[in-house]
Each structure stands twice: as C-alpha cells, then as structure tokens.
Symmetry: C2
Subunit: 586 residues, 2 copies
C-alpha cells in the first residue's frame, strides 16, 4: 500500500473517497504520527490511540459537519482534529501547540463544544436532536461516550431523556474497559456480559433504558465499524452502538498499562518509559504523594478511616499498589462526584471518617450534595481539593479557581486554606479526628513549600487568623497559596522601614471578626487569594470593613474562563507578585 | 375489628406485636387521620397516602432504628413519623405543626437525614452500608426511592456504586407511576413492562445494574409487603424490591388527579375541592401564571422557542392543558436538572431558543452544566428561577436564597434581577430574542408587583444600573425583590428632607463601574438583596468601593440553613424593613 500524504487530508471529504484499504493505511499513519507527537509532547495517549478507527469510520459514514457528533470529555478527539483541517498540529512539531487537547468551536466548525468534563455529551446531543426535530431537519445526531464516563449521573439523565425523542439519536458507547483507572460500578458487569456474548445477553442496560442496541466486537476494525455505522445512519429511533475498542492500541506500553497511559507526559516511543520521571524520594515532593502517604498511615492506624475518589485515584497519589494495600478502606465510586460526596456523608453518619480527594474543577458537580447532605446535615467528612489554584490545570474546561466562591458560601461547611505542607498535614489530621463539621481543605498551588514555624492549632473549627507579624498601619492578608507572596511583600516593605501586619487567615468560610476589628483604624488592608475575586474571601473582608474608614484592596483573579494561560503572567496581571503588592501598600 | 387507639403507638415496637388484621386496621385509621390533617393543613397528599402500608411493613419487618432506612425526598414519611413517636402531630390539630414535612434527625432517632431534594437516598444509604461493612456490623440498610426520583443522576450513581457493595443493601423502589406530574424518560417504559409482567420481563434495569430483583404487584397489601420484606431481610447481596403502589390511595380525588394532589393546600375531604382556591382572573396574579401565559404566547408566535422543566411543570404554570397545547415545544426531562440544562444548551446551539423554569433550591444540582455547557460555551439559553427569595419555600431543605451567590459568580453568565412584573416580562422577551449570552432571570419574591414607570432597556446584556432618583450623598441600591423596600426607604428619607440616590441594579453578575464611580464621593451606599450576603451582590460593591472613602453597608441574609422561618421576621432581623433602611441611612 502506498503511503498517504497526511498533509493532503484537509477535511472528511478527503477520506470519504478512500477505499477501506486506504483508510487502513491512513489509520496506521495517523497512529504513528500520534505516537510521535505524544512521545515528545505528552497528552491523552490511550483514549486517542484506541479511537483512531472509530473516528475515521464516523466521519466516513456520517456527513459531518451537517451530521453532528458530540464527543464526551473530548479527550479522544486528536484523530478527529487530524482529519478536520488540523493535521499539521499532529505532524509538525513546530505546530504541536496550535490546537487544544479538547474540542473547541473556535478551532473548527466540526467541534461543537468546548468540552472537558465527563458525561455531558449525551444530554447535549439530545438537545441538538430535539432542536432538529423542532426545526424539521434531517441530520444525524451522534453522541460518543466512553464506558468510564457512563457512571456520571448526567450521562444517565441524558440517556433517559434521549430515549424519549422517538427520532434519530445515535449513542456510540466506546467501551475500552477502562475509566482513567479501572471501572467501578454495577453497570460494568453488564457491559462485560454484553462483550462476552457478542451483545446478545440480557439484561441489557441500554435496552432497559429504551434504546435499540447494536454491538461491534472488533471496535478497531474499520470494516466492522463502517458497516455498523451505515446500518444505523438515519435510524428513525434512538439507538446505542456499543463498540469494543482497545485503549492505547498500537503502543505496547499503553496497551499494557492503560492507567499510566491514559494521560502521559513525554515518553520513549519504543519502551514507553517516561522521559521526565521524578527520582524516587524518601520525602514526598508533591501534595498527591504527601496526601497518599498520610492517608495510608492514618488508615493503618484506624480501620474506620476511608479514602474516597470519584474515578481519579492518581490525583490522590493512590496508585494500584496503594489501592491494593488500602483494600476496603479505599473507595472508588467511578466518575460520580455526587455519589462520592453522598457516600462520604453516609460513612460519616455511621461513624467512619471519610476523606475524599477531588479535583477542583470536578467537585462543582456535587454542589447540591455538599450543601444538602454534608453541610445541612453537619456530617464530618473531609474533602481535600487538588489543583484548586491558578497553578493547577490551565485548560478553560479544567480551571481550578472557582472553588472558593463555590464552596465557602455554603453554611456549616468549613473551608480551610493551608499555606504550606505542615499546615496541610495538621488540618488534615484535625479534620479526621473531629466530629463537628464537614471540612474542605484546599491544597496549596504550585510547588510544595515547607514552613516549620507555622503555628498549628488544636482545633480549626472556629475562624482564628494567624497574626504572623504585627506592626504598622498596613495589613496584608494572604490566603492559602497567596500567603507566600504576601510574606515576601512584607519582607520588602520591612526592609524599607514600613512595618506591616501579616495575616494567614486559615479559614475562608467565616470571618474572624475579632481580628478584623483590630484593623479597623488601619490605613489599608490588602487581601490576596488564589481564586476569583467575585464571591471569594477578600470581598467578605471588604464588606465587613465597609462601615470603617480603613481602605481595602482585594487582589485575586478575574471572573473569566481563561484558556491555556501562563500562571506566572496571570499572577502579575492580577498584581500579586510580591513587589506589586508592596507597591500597592506604599 | 376493634378500633386501635392511635395514641398508644409510641414506637415501631408497638406495631411489631400486631397481627396482620390489626395492622390493616391501623393502616386504615392512619389513613383517615392523614386525610383529616391534610384536608385542613395541606401537605404532600399522594406520596403519603400511597405509602401507609409499605412504611408499616418496613418497620414491622426491619429492626429499626438498628436497621437503617433512608427515605428519598422524605416527603412520604408522614406514616413513618406517626409510628415513630410523633403520632400526636397527625391526630391533634393543636400539634399539627410540631413536625416538619421531611425526615429530621432533630425530631427522632428514626430519621437519619434532613432531606428534601430527590434522588440522594440510594447513595447515602450505600455509604451507611459501606460503613457497616468496615465496622463489621450486621444491620440491614434500606433505601426507599420513588419511581419519579429515579431519573435524577445521583440516584443512578448511587445504584451503580451500591451494586458493588457485595453485601446487604436493599433498595425499595416505590413505583406509583408518577413523578410530581407524569414521568418522562426511557426507564419508565421498562418499569411499566416489569409491572405488566409481574416483574418477570427482560430487559430489567435493575438486574442490568447488578441487583437481585423482586417485585410486589400489590404494593398496598400488607401481607404481600411483609412477606417480601421478610424474604430480603438480611440479604447478603444488594437487592431491589420493586413495589407497585397507588399514589393518593384512599382519597378518591387524589387517586383521580395525582398531580394536583402530589402536594395540596387545604381541601374538602369528601370532594377534594380546594378550600382556598384563587378565583379565576383575566390578569395573572402570580409569576407562574404570568410566565406560562407569556411563554405560550411566544411559543405560538415562534415555533422555535421551547419551554423546559425538570419535573416541576406546575411551578412554571404549565398545567396538563397547557402542556398538551404546547406539544413538542414543552419539554419535561423528568427530575434531571443536569440534563435539562444540557438539553437547553443543545437546543440553543442548534438555533432554538430554550427557556427553562426551575426552582431556586433545585437548580444547584446543575452548577457544572451552567458553568461548562452554558457559560463557557456562551449558549443563549434562558433560565427563569422561581422561589429564589426569602419569600419562597421556608424548609431548610428548600431554601431559595443561595442562588445569587451560586450563579452570579460564573463568568459569561448574565444574572438579571427584575424588580416587578413589567421588568420581568421585558427581560424575558429580550433574553429570548438575543443570542449573546446565557441568562438567569430571577423571579422577584413575594406578591407580584407592578410598576408601569419602570425603564425598559433594548438590551440587558451590559450592566446598566437604573438611577431611579438622583440626589444627596446617600445611595440606596436595591436588587430585585429588595428594590421595593429601598424605594419606600427613599420616600421616608425624602419626606424628612434627605435627598437620596435610588438605584435598581438590574444586573447582579457584573458591576456597572461607570455608575458606581459616580458614587465614590458619597457619604454612604447601602445595598440590599434577597439572598445571602456571602458571595452575593453587595459584597462586590463593597469590594469595588474599598479604595474610596465612601462607606458601604451591605444588607442581606445570613449564611445559615434557616428552617421554617417567618420571612417577615427575617426581613426585620436583617434590617431590611423600609424604616430600618432609612434609619441606617440617617
């Protein structure tokens, strides 16, 4: 077979002219290009390598962009981007950063949504299909969702509604037998049964929800996929096409270790060995590792402590070995943040001490459960928030600076912002031994810092600010991550002979009125936080001080969906570099 | 059969001694007492009348409170309250208000949670069961969930996780063939199939999720229920017991009109006729009726406008007749707020103009969808928030004053707070004809007010405050519902010769800096809002003004889960009566 010039593929029209043989050749070359790029650039390895054929087959059969495809999470859309006008971003290293890692309507008319959270594609597509029916259109509407994403509640809600459309609605379930880590949930036994019986078994989750059902056992075989998609194209009723694919296909290391290669940094394309591996260290070098070691030690000492994740054990530092060792005390509910918070509530109610680790951007799915089932019911569960910072993830779909505004305004819910490793550990230990309150502990952003002089409290339930230095008529209040820069600003000012009061507020959910009252005759208070200003900590201070003569300047992030920003530049744009803070104080 | 003295039932122990005959007599007397109370007091009629036997059978068979029962929504727990020490609250009119309408641990050790939102019981109970397993306990854990609540995503997440427990976990699905209104979703065809085949059919949703499955066709027959509950008691594996009950049983009117009697005010116990019915009126007298008429008119004029609800059509003023008339343009996705918001996003993306009506306390389940699928993707869908006010519902589980803090801090999402009928209508009309932004419109609380002089804008997308009066050095900014009291306060002050600037901010998501800058040399700004202060509107103003000499006083509600409060008293406690505001200004 002659090589295909990848740069000649400008749109799906270019592949629709191809024979199956040519498509196979194309798939093979695309996979090679993907491995090349991923090995130097990093990215979602497994999801994309597993979906090369299915994406080609979809665009081969369906008349995109008139026919509409919504990809769930959209972390599997590198092949889709390659054949919809963005090939160069995958073949030319100088252009590797031209595209984002997710679908993005600003890049292409083939991308319907900027989408990075799981489980929403089915409901979004159901809306597109319903609109088509109201407008009298005829296009196909396709949702593509992975088995791992199926555990999210909104996926089920979308399937439930979609089944009632009574018209064309095609849900492709990409079953690669993995979530980010292994799957957890009752539905996965049914998916296995369906795979093992070539789709013939009952019970069948999808039929039970009202869908016609088709199964493709060789989900990486172009012929099988194309035949199946042709058979459901223009289907007059909702249908689920369940395809069995291999995550990481074509890269031996990724086929072997699917969890490691779900998302990976640069690696050796032959061996799969990571290029930038951290050397083993006796001391934990990041908060994930610190958290995991701490929880392992606490769980060993007390069998009634449990660690919970909603499908992201790696974020918590719980690799497969630790999960095995923790046994029944480690709970992965699958990608299901709402259930995770409620399971934590149930555990706490029954006397177990649950600690859930959760990514800032994903916890927002469980607001109702935080409000009703933790806070209102005063259940002493602990939630450790990772990447809650401008120094966390920087895709517009995964921002980590909305969580203070989201959770600190819930009554009865303690929001703690440790400033360093020692304070984080102390707060975590305290939260697990108390039974007064549900507690959020927001892991500081950026590199882990240590401060052996940090003042540790016996009890963090009441708001007690730490007045680290006292002096002058300017007060600097630095929350969480931002305490460090406030401290540096204080150092600068002190060198200039300006005495300042430096405060670590610790608690972002309730003001320490007694301490704030001490500041009411100051000339200036500056607050800084690693989160949006709107609805955050500083505005509460400004409101409290509104009736006093003291001026208040709140520093923090703008209320914007920033995309692929530089945290360093952002820090400076927000005036939160130490020298800028010092300047504002002068 | 001799009458049973209801007042002799102090705990479930008292019913466990009874024969089936005696239990039947008890059920009959309890139902009579319920109808008597409900007919003068109002409450959840249908859910409770339908569950008298099932609740008795559960407490008869299971060893509560050691065995644990979590009731979903808990609006069906009046019979449960009657036999767990609270009978007097259902038999003695002087004590009718002694209990809340939901389970409440402050009332009884038999009540595990203060719970009023749907769909969470399964995941909460799964946490209780997991805790039992970690602690080596032996008790049964039972979740009771209605068919209507099953459509909520967290119910599915909880079922999915619960199936993996591998131990005792009993889910009673109370299938009364109704949500608040009729059910919507693909799963309901399966439930019907199961009912029609005495539970024998495939596909079976519950088996597909990994549960053993039992079916009770006569779910109001004590013998059948008791036999079944006995057969699953101490089950070593997760099991679903699907019971077929009659909503409203025993009250003919409630059996006939299940939607009307889901929740009802006082009624004639013979005929079911409402006692406090509003007279028919040419003019709408509340915002639900206004909204429905408005939407019906707009949808008739433009077939590409759609109205969406997540299972609460009545709140939107869409009774069965209107739903029929609206046809395909009225969308009920079932109790599934996340999907509702995503369906709205899909509709908007495809050019339809969707308007979702939603209860303030329930919209919080869809925060992630508001953030990701509406705001980040800038989809011009409209969300009309009902009961977003201290004058809305006053159960601690249904509070409506957190929505400003929750939604106004999301980027790219316009939060409008109309102050009267005319402004509400203008904002709704504008939102449907524009395509710039997703829009929240918060219905004002309390009685509908009219203001024919209100200034209407051509475009509400930019923050432009309405300076209703200008004068003096005190500015009163009254948001939404609170504008009226601010206006009265201004009147009081003007009579005293104090000139004030009175402002209707209209937009609570972005400050109108130009207008606020005009106030920077004022002596005082007072803001008032019908929501919690923390994370709300006023604190943004205080922060903006922090660097200026002007004093700022923010009025609003405390960050607390208030329960069964008097809105009038609360208003006064918050200093938001007109005279109090005037006093603060002086």
């Amino acid at each position: 077979m002659a090589e295909i010039d990848l740069s000649s593929i400008a749109s799906p029209a270019d592949i629709r002219k191809m024979s199956i043989e040519e498509l196979r050749q194309l798939a093979s070359e695309m996979r090679e290009a993907l491995i090349r790029k991923l090995s130097v650039h990093g990215g979602h390895v497994g999801p994309n390598l597993g979906m090369v054929e299915a994406v080609l087959a979809l665009h081969y059969v369906f008349d995109t962009p008139e026919d509409k495809i919504v990809f769930d999470v959209s972390h599997q859309t590198y092949p889709h981007k390659m054949i919809t006008g963005r090939m160069q971003a995958f073949t030319d290293p100088a252009h590797y950063d031209d595209v984002t890692g997710y679908t993005n309507p600003k890049e292409s008319e083939y991308d319907l949504y900027s989408l990075g959270h799981t489980s929403s594609a089915v409901a979004l597509a159901a809306g597109l299909a319903k609109a088509r029916d109201l407008k009298g259109g005829k296009e196909n509407v396709v949702a593509v969702i992975g088995d791992g994403s199926l555990s999210g509640g909104v996926a089920f809600e979308g399937l439930d509604y979609g089944a009632t459309l009574g018209s064309n609605f095609i849900v492709v379930v990409n079953d690669n037998q993995m979530s980010i880590a292994e799957n957890h949930g009752g539905i996965y036994a049914d998916l296995r049964l369906l795979r093992n019986t070539n789709g013939t078994a009952e019970p069948n989750l999808f039929r039970a929800m009202g869908y016609a059902y088709r199964y493709v056992h060789y989900g990486n075989d172009l012929r099988s996929l194309i035949d199946m998609f042709r058979s459901v194209k223009d289907s007059p009723v909702p249908v689920v096409v369940h395809i069995n694919t291999m995550k990481g296909m074509g890269l031996a290391a990724a086929e072997m270790d699917k969890e490691e290669f779900h998302y990976s940094g640069p690696f050796n394309p032959q061996t799969g060995a990571p290029l930038n591996e951290q050397p083993e260290s006796d001391e934990p070098t990041d908060y994930s590792e610190l958290f995991a070691r701490k929880m392992m030690a606490m769980m060993k000492e007390n069998r009634q402590i449990a660690t919970i994740t909603a499908g992201t054990p790696g974020v918590l530092g719980f690799d497969a070995a630790r999960r095995r060792e923790a046994g029944k005390q480690f709970i992965d509910v699958g990608i299901a943040e709402q259930a995770a918070v409620d399971v934590a509530s149930g555990l706490a109610k029954a006397g177990v001490r649950p600690v859930m680790g959760v990514v800032s951007s994903f916890l927002q799915r469980a607001y109702d459960q935080f409000s009703q089932d933790i806070a209102l019911n005063r259940q002493p569960a602990t939630f450790v928030v990772f990447y809650g910072s401008m120094f966390g993830m920087n895709d517009e779909t995964h921002l980590g600076f909305f969580d203070i505004a989201l959770l600190s305004n819930i009554p009865n819910l303690l929001f703690l912002a440790p400033t360093c490793r020692e304070e984080f550990e102390a707060m975590l230990e305290w939260s697990v031994r108390q039974d007064k309150t549900g507690t959020i502990i927001r892991v500081p952003g950026g590199r882990m810092t240590s401060n052996s002089e940090i003042e540790i409290l016996e009890d963090y339930s009441e708001p007690i600010y730490d007045i680290v230095r006292k002096g002058g008529d300017v007060a600097l209040i630095g929350a969480g991550t931002m305490f460090g820069n406030m401290q540096k600003a204080a150092d600068i000012l002190e060198k200039e002979g300006i005495a300042v009061t430096l405060i670590n507020p610790r608690n972002l959910s309730t003001l320490d009125g007694a301490t704030l009252d001490l500041l009411k005759d100051y000339r200036l208070i500056i607050t800084a936080e690693d989160g949006i200003l709107d609805g955050g900590f500083g505005q509460k201070v400004a409101s409290y001080m509104g009736d006093y003569p003291v001026k208040v300047i709140n520093l923090g992030l703008p209320k914007e969906f920033l995309n692929r920003f530089s945290a360093k530049e952002l820090l400076s744009e927000c005036g939160m570099e130490p020298e800028q803070i010092a300047h504002a104080a002068r």
